[in-house]
């Protein structure tokens, strides 16, 4: 058993944290300071598909080369990072919030409401999340809002089940009974006494969910059902390089590396959090969400 001090010095965890901070900082800063225009298309003929580490005829240096429209790949990749990170974080946080609400209500009210909500959760859980995601994304107009809404709609069930189980466990604790006996209202007991003690697995699941949400977003965008060009996302950038994989492999490979680095860092941090806060329960569901 490692001590707490040892764990905080875990080189893997430190590396993952540094990587994520660096990626987030680059996503925010690079598009601001870049001299290249990430969305507009300029002189396509002379600038398209420049290999990495070259200087274009326009005098700009292209660290990762350019795409088929002559746009700087590095600038676009970091701009895509903003969107992918934001979608991942917002999507998984909101899904967790919805799941927490539904799980808490189901456990607190019990009876038919509990059975109905958990029935819906179980039914949705038995459809592979990717299939559910694709169906929802294809039925509505693709775009940023749709992706986030669909991530919430397909991501709340795991957390809801977890919170429900935790709340049921906490609700029978003496301090909860005591709070009720002292005259605290039902909602006050739930919000002040029960929920704070039931949140740990949901926090872990949410952290691990960020990586999953980023992956799922990239999958949707790769298939053309997510973020729409010219707005870049790692998924649609990979799709854009799909038929260039022979002639200009960097166009598809580079955004994938950024994506993997981000999801890797987020997952390692989530794992570390899980080791400290909760057992394996929080973990099982996320295996099914692979893209």
């Amino acid at each position: 058993m490692m001590t707490r001090r040892d764990e905080s010095r875990d080189p893997v965890l430190i590396g993952a944290g540094a990587l994520l901070v660096a990626l987030a900082a680059a996503s925010i800063l690079v598009p601001v300071f870049s001299t290249s225009e990430p969305l507009a298309i300029g002189d396509v003929i002379s600038l398209r598909l420049l290999p990495p580490l070259t200087r274009g005829t326009d005098g700009h240096f292209h660290l990762l080369g350019t795409d088929r429209f002559g746009r700087d790949l590095f600038t676009r990749m970091m701009l895509a990072g903003r969107i992918s990170l934001a979608v991942g974080i917002v999507g998984s946080l909101l899904a967790a919030a919805v799941g927490t609400g539904i799980g808490a209500v189901a456990a607190w009210r019990r009876g038919w409401l509990d059975r109905a909500l958990m029935g819906i959760a179980d039914a949705l859980l038995s459809i592979p999340r990717l299939v559910l995601l694709l169906v929802c994304a294809a039925l509505w107009q693709p775009g940023l809002t749709t992706v986030v809404v669909v991530l919430i709609a397909t991501g709340w069930m795991g957390v809801a089940r977890m919170i429900r189980a935790e709340v049921l466990g906490v609700a029978v604790q003496p301090y909860v009974q005591a709070a009720g006996a002292l005259g605290a209202s039902g909602s006050r007991v739930l919000l002040r006494h029960v929920l704070p003690n039931a949140l740990a697995p949901a926090i872990v699941a949410t952290t691990l969910g960020v990586g999953n949400a980023i992956l799922l977003e990239s999958g949707l965008s790769f298939l053309g059902l997510g973020i729409q060009p010219p707005r870049p996302s790692w998924g649609n950038m990979i799709a854009g390089g799909r038929d260039l994989i022979v002639t200009a492999p960097w166009v598809a490979i580079a955004p994938g590396v950024a994506l993997i680095a981000t999801v890797l860092a987020a997952t390692l941090i989530g794992d570390a959090l899980r080791d400290r806060l909760a057992g394996e329960r929080a973990f099982r569901r996320d295996i099914a969400d692979r893209v």
């Binding site: 058993m1 490692m2 080189p11 893997v12 029935g119 819906i120 179980d122 039914a123 949705l124 038995s126 459809i127 592979p128 999340r129 990717l130 299939v131 559910l132 694709l134 169906v135 929802c136 294809a138 039925l139 509505w140 990586g211 992956l215 990239s218 999958g219 790769f222 298939l223 053309g224 059902l225 998924g235 990979i238 390089g241 799909r242 994989i245 022979v246 492999p249 598809a252 490979i253 994938g256 994506l259 993997i260 981000t262 999801v263 890797l264 997952t267 390692l268 794992d271 394996e280 973990f283 099982r284 569901r285 295996i287 099914a288 969400d289 692979r290 893209v291």
Partner: protein, 327 residues
């Protein structure tokens, strides 16, 4: 016996919920499928005729009742785009996905579990840290990107780098087009086409399983009976082979059931990149073309597979772990 009946009953209710939810979901969506099917120049009367042919002009409860009844009889309707029965579309596509999935899932466990055990045995040391980062990195890689990267390396890259001919792997389809092969040669051709898709699904799956097996094995390693076995001189291999594996097995069976949706869904991307005419591609094409009957049929089929796998895992647990029989 009562347990089996009760669990099977729950599974049936779940399946009914899935069928209903699928229906609700698709009817909630904006847009009219008939608009996709008629030519843009078609008159309103033509569109109305198509809608009535498809039964889309009936009230929602009637459409639901008809669909539920037909689905339970195993009739999933006709594809909007091709007019073939959905059951036939799914039946033709299923063997490819089932073969791909079964092979990958088996390899996933054969590779992932030993890696996880090795990591747990070396927990906190350099081997463990390296394997953790490696398996998490593979786990973090989207399968469509891995597919493109491997295609780049093993087809075009192999040609430019001068790999031996046997290492130049085909990237698309199930068999070499334009040639008719028989017997052994056909099998080799199919196997060569299958290498990249199977490797990708296996790598991604094994990475996930290793992550999970590491946690489960580490947990068991900390238990008293493992310490006792070691103290009384049981050899390390026997400790892992008998004491640890036997206690991790139930968790792995549950995991097997839980991995199934991942493999099924993962095959959507792999089949799409490698142009394999399997279920994943049929589903994706149905989704992109708003072919409601195909989408609904495929969704129900996916969900049924998951529900049955979960049921089987749950029922097999008491066999693997007698302690659970009393629980």
């Amino acid at each position: 016996m009562m347990l089996i009946v009760r669990r099977a009953g729950t599974a049936a209710v779940l399946l009914w919920l899935v069928i209903t939810l699928t229906f609700v979901l698709i009817r909630l969506a904006p847009g009219d499928p008939a608009a996709f099917l008629v030519a843009p120049s078609a008159s309103a009367a033509d569109a109305a005729r198509v809608r009535s042919e498809l039964g889309l002009d009936r009230s929602i409860p009637i459409q639901y009742a008809r669909w539920l009844g037909a689905t339970l009889r195993g009739d999933l309707g006709l594809s909007f785009t091709t007019g073939t029965p959905v059951t036939r579309v799914l039946r033709e596509a299923a063997p490819i996905s089932v073969g791909l999935g079964a092979l990958s899932l088996t390899l996933t466990f054969l590779i992932g579990v030993p890696i996880g055990m090795l990591q747990a045995a070396r927990r906190g040391r350099a081997t463990d840290r390296m394997l953790t980062v490696l398996s998490t990195a593979v786990y973090a890689a989207p399968s469509f990107w891995l597919a493109l990267a491997l295609v780049a390396v093993f087809t075009y890259g192999a040609a430019t780098l001068g790999f031996p001919a046997s290492l130049r792997l085909p990237a698309f389809g199930l068999r070499t087009p334009g040639v008719t092969l028989h017997g052994w040669h056909a099998a080799v051709d199919l196997a060569r086409h299958a290498v990249l898709p199977v490797v990708i699904l296996t790598a991604v799956g094994a990475a996930g399983i290793a992550r999970y097996a590491r946690t489960s094995v580490a947990e068991v390693l900390g238990l008293d009976f493992v310490r006792t076995a070691r103290a009384k001189g049981v050899r390390s291999r026997a400790v892992y082979g008998r004491h640890v594996l036997a206690n991790v097995l139930p968790a792995l069976v549950v995991l097997f059931a839980l991995s199934l949706p991942g493999v099924l869904a993962g095959s959507i991307f792999v089949e799409s990149v490698f142009a394999w005419p399997g279920l994943g591609r049929a589903t994706l094409n149905g989704i992109l073309a708003r072919d409601y009957p195909v989408v609904m049929g495929a969704t129900v089929l996916y969900a049924a597979a998951v529900i049955v796998a979960n049921l089987a895992a749950e029922l097999s647990l008491p066999l693997l772990d007698p302690r659970r029989e009393h629980a």
